[in-house]
Symmetry: D2
Subunit: 318 residues, 4 copies
């Protein structure tokens, strides 16, 4: 990286690593296009153990949110429950049938999540040359999460940085550069290929869970991808990147001139699917156990019409 | 089925088709236990086309809910959007970074969904001899949806009843009996095996979409599984059953003595995972196209702590 | 009114009836400023019967909303209830203390309501020359409802149009002009004075309740104030106007060139407080009973920070 | 107070201070019945200054809630805003009319509030011999807040304890006994009469605002009414009591045997309206200024059908 990454350089990188128009003007899927039918079939051939591992953090009021940007933890309420049955409120149902129903109020970015390609913009535009005027109080008319409802399925690759570095977790501010990703991949006998879904474990969440505190997790210091990964992501034709952090990128960002510069380049220009707040500890243990860092991966978003993200329960199948 | 299915007979069938204790007193997964690692590996070997098909209805205010039982369609609101960027509300973010965030308020049973094993009870108990007192305003302390977060992955089988019967859709009140399921399966060259996730298309949703009206869909008349399928489900060791209807069972129910008697038996006693409001039209077309009615199927629930259901985006991978 | 009320004429009237700057550049209260301490004391002297009458429609899922503009009826859920007590979920509380708590999700404009002065704008501005950029996803930084939290208290005057006209209700599309208001007031022995809160009953709600249908109530045809009332409101120095309709103005509007032209003029330029969906039937009966159409009136908004409206329970004290 | 207040004594006091049946078996208003028309007229005659003072804390995400009992601070979201207007999302509206709308999700007990008479129960009953089975996930079928929609209007009396004691605020755990209330009232030249709404300022909120921290406010230590006030409330025929604290009673409670024993007696048996989280600082200053501690008071609840409480904006009119 050059000495100082200014706002103009970020734009220059954006143009350099742009996929606008690559899959046509009607495209809303971005780098998910790299996951071809052939790649899906290869991914399906990976499992050896018949083991399924969730990469989702529980969605509840003990989640990581502390109010930043209006994001709060999920609010779960009951519409009907066992107490109602006891109180006789369901006696109108014949034969003793009784039931429970429930509801949730949750920001779509409050926990384990995909960002849609309408999540980030600059200079008035989002992915594929679309105007930000398309994203209003009524939702996103383009690049919304429901545009990728027939996904996300492909080959997942875990890059377990702290295990590679023999650390419990990476410190806040630790930059993960392309060469770090490559070295980690090589150490674990895996290579990142076109259409891969790359899961980068930093240990940031591990630390929160061990210390029983989410303080600083949302928006505070964090290890994460260096903005220099923009070229690596583009060239490798990565389909998606996800981490166990709030914002995927290293915080503090590598430049004071731009907030989340990798988002600016990779989400808006490259059309990359960003995953956040993934819980990768169980998967990391399973990979260490069997020595296999590639797996079938599936993480379908809820197709909420016009949404700019979705809570997900990502599954690794080994 | 005997002439009259009274409330006691439903209980008798419940005892007959019970899996309580089968996987231990600590089990919260029920028939998902039939999906063994071996079955998962077999399912992964099924895809031939590398094609992924969503079975979710869009989650939005045009959904099927009309207020029954307090269920409403999803309410999607924006926490930040392109308009804010235009208005200068995000100018504090350096480098021109702008973003959108959003939130949803939705009953967990409002659209394409899994019911957890805490969704239905009678005589004070739910699956695996657990007291309904465990399901209160604070959520379910047992049998909740987050207990199956490492799922659902397995072999899916589509039983496309209207296509088999050469009808656009089954009429309301049409009972689908075990022999109907078997005949349909045989006609399409597939057999239902232990651990399968059985998707039964009735065309009820097709009709609503064609007629552009959800009137009657929620709680009104519907084709659906006969209560006599309880034995078939139990014996075949089916892992899950889902339909394109509101309630899976035929409505009107086959007896006035019990509401949703198949739920009473199969959900509470057998521990079966019920799926509802699945959008199976695209999948049906794809199966008809390639003649292959078995596929890899994945439908991870959101692990909302203590929830009695979850919206899902089920994916069939062919 | 001239033959055709075009968009430019609306703006001209806006300038003519403007109160911008009248109470200083920092004013967020608009016509509520007409309610001086002296007027409040006069209003307090009005009651003769010691009778309090609510003018609120119940807030529940049987309300008038049918989805227009994203407005839905209130969703009321329980956080704790008697069933929980029965189920033992509150046994940790000593001495047998048990309790119930609840929550609501509601659009602030879904029922009986005040609009704040940030509710309507045109040509980039809202009341008192403020930019609409001040109203974003984070709420309104000016003219918000919490700015009038020390209100609304004053002299209320009911103008019961259908009773005056000896009709059960006014037909949809009926224009209520200044001369109609004056004639009605005179007939009932009351005059509208500076600082008054004028409640205009049209019978539109009466009709819905009698016909047991809200069809058309929200956004459909309605009797209501003519745009020509703009001058009357300005000259009389009315503090607030409220009706038993969805939108206060006559619908269809008197010109196709502007939507809700009276809002454009009176809310944005005059700074008038608009009240809607008032339930005025009980009050109308009480006024007819005692022949007294002026009363102490109080309708405090919830001071939700940055809100552009508030549900209210208006009280008339006779 | 006797040495030890055990659970049985609380019940004995409950019987002693019970108003069950006093206003008939159909009564849902409890002590509000003490506010007769004559008392309302007397209250209306009190104002001398024409001054209106809100006693509500702002409803926003800076509120006092920290998650106890599932209570969270209000969540305010926009359904339409100025940014939408800028983005062209409202261009379909003719003549340049533009608007903003909004929504709130809030526990009804999260801020300044009335508790309904369905808020507290013990031994299976709530006010007026009603079964707690009437309070389920569908709301309260009796004693709900909408039952008092034609209220609350009456004579308010402020008892400013810290000013009386020349303290900035009362310490946590400070018991306010009947004799303290009487002494304070006498010092400020006011007497508590039948039908009065008694506002007791403790300074607990003042302290939070001054220290810019709500830590401990909800459910933590607090000054408050002693359980011995139960008799005073009953005998004086108080219509309502409200404080600037979370729970009105002194915390720690005066006995470990019962949680909130004054609630048990006064809310359930006496049928007293409880008000909480009132912001009484501005009112206290105004009373000190003019030396008048009685005023017209109005605090209408939102008539949310079946609700067990309501956020309010209480107004004192001096």
């Amino acid at each position: 990286m050059k000495e100082h990454l200014d706002a103009e350089t970020v734009r220059e990188w954006g143009r350099r690593y742009s996929n606008w128009g690559r899959w046509g003007q009607d495209d809303h899927r971005g780098t998910l296009n790299f996951i071809t039918p052939a790649r899906i079939l290869e991914a399906c051939a990976l499992p050896r153990r018949g083991l399924v591992i969730s990469c989702a953090l529980p969605f509840d009021d003990k989640g990581p949110q502390t109010g930043l940007a209006g994001r709060h933890n999920p609010i779960h309420t009951m519409l009907a429950d066992g107490g109602d049955a006891l109180a006789g409120a369901q006696d109108f149902l014949p034969g003793g049938f009784r039931y429970a129903d429930d509801s949730v109020t949750m920001p779509l970015q409050c926990g384990t999540q995909w960002n849609s390609l309408a999540h980030v913009f600059y200079d008035g535009k989002m992915y594929n040359d679309r105007d930000l005027c398309l994203v209003t109080s009524s939702g996103a008319l383009a690049n919304s999460i429901d545009r990728i409802k027939d996904g996300v399925v492909g080959r997942g690759v875990l890059l377990d940085m702290p295990r590679y570095l023999k650390l419990p977790w990476l410190d806040d501010g630790t930059r993960i550069r392309p060469e770090d990703l490559d070295a980690c991949a090589e150490a674990f006998g895996v290579t990142v290929e076109s259409g891969d879904i790359v899961l980068v474990r930093t240990g940031r969440m591990t630390r929160c869970l061990e210390q029983k505190s989410w303080a600083g997790y949302c928006g505070g210091g964090a290890p994460g991808l260096s903005v220099t990964c923009a070229g690596w992501i583009y060239t490798r034709e990565v389909a998606a990147v996800a981490t166990d952090t709030w914002g995927l990128e290293v915080i503090p960002n590598e430049t004071p001139d731009c907030f989340q510069p990798l988002h600016m380049i990779a989400l808006r220009n490259t059309g990359l699917l960003f995953g956040k707040i993934f819980q990768l500890d169980a998967l990391a243990n399973a990979c260490a156990e069997d020595g296999n860092y590639a797996f079938l991966f599936t993480a379908p978003p809820l197709p909420i019409t016009g949404a700019v993200g979705s809570p997900i329960n990502p599954l690794a199948i080994k």
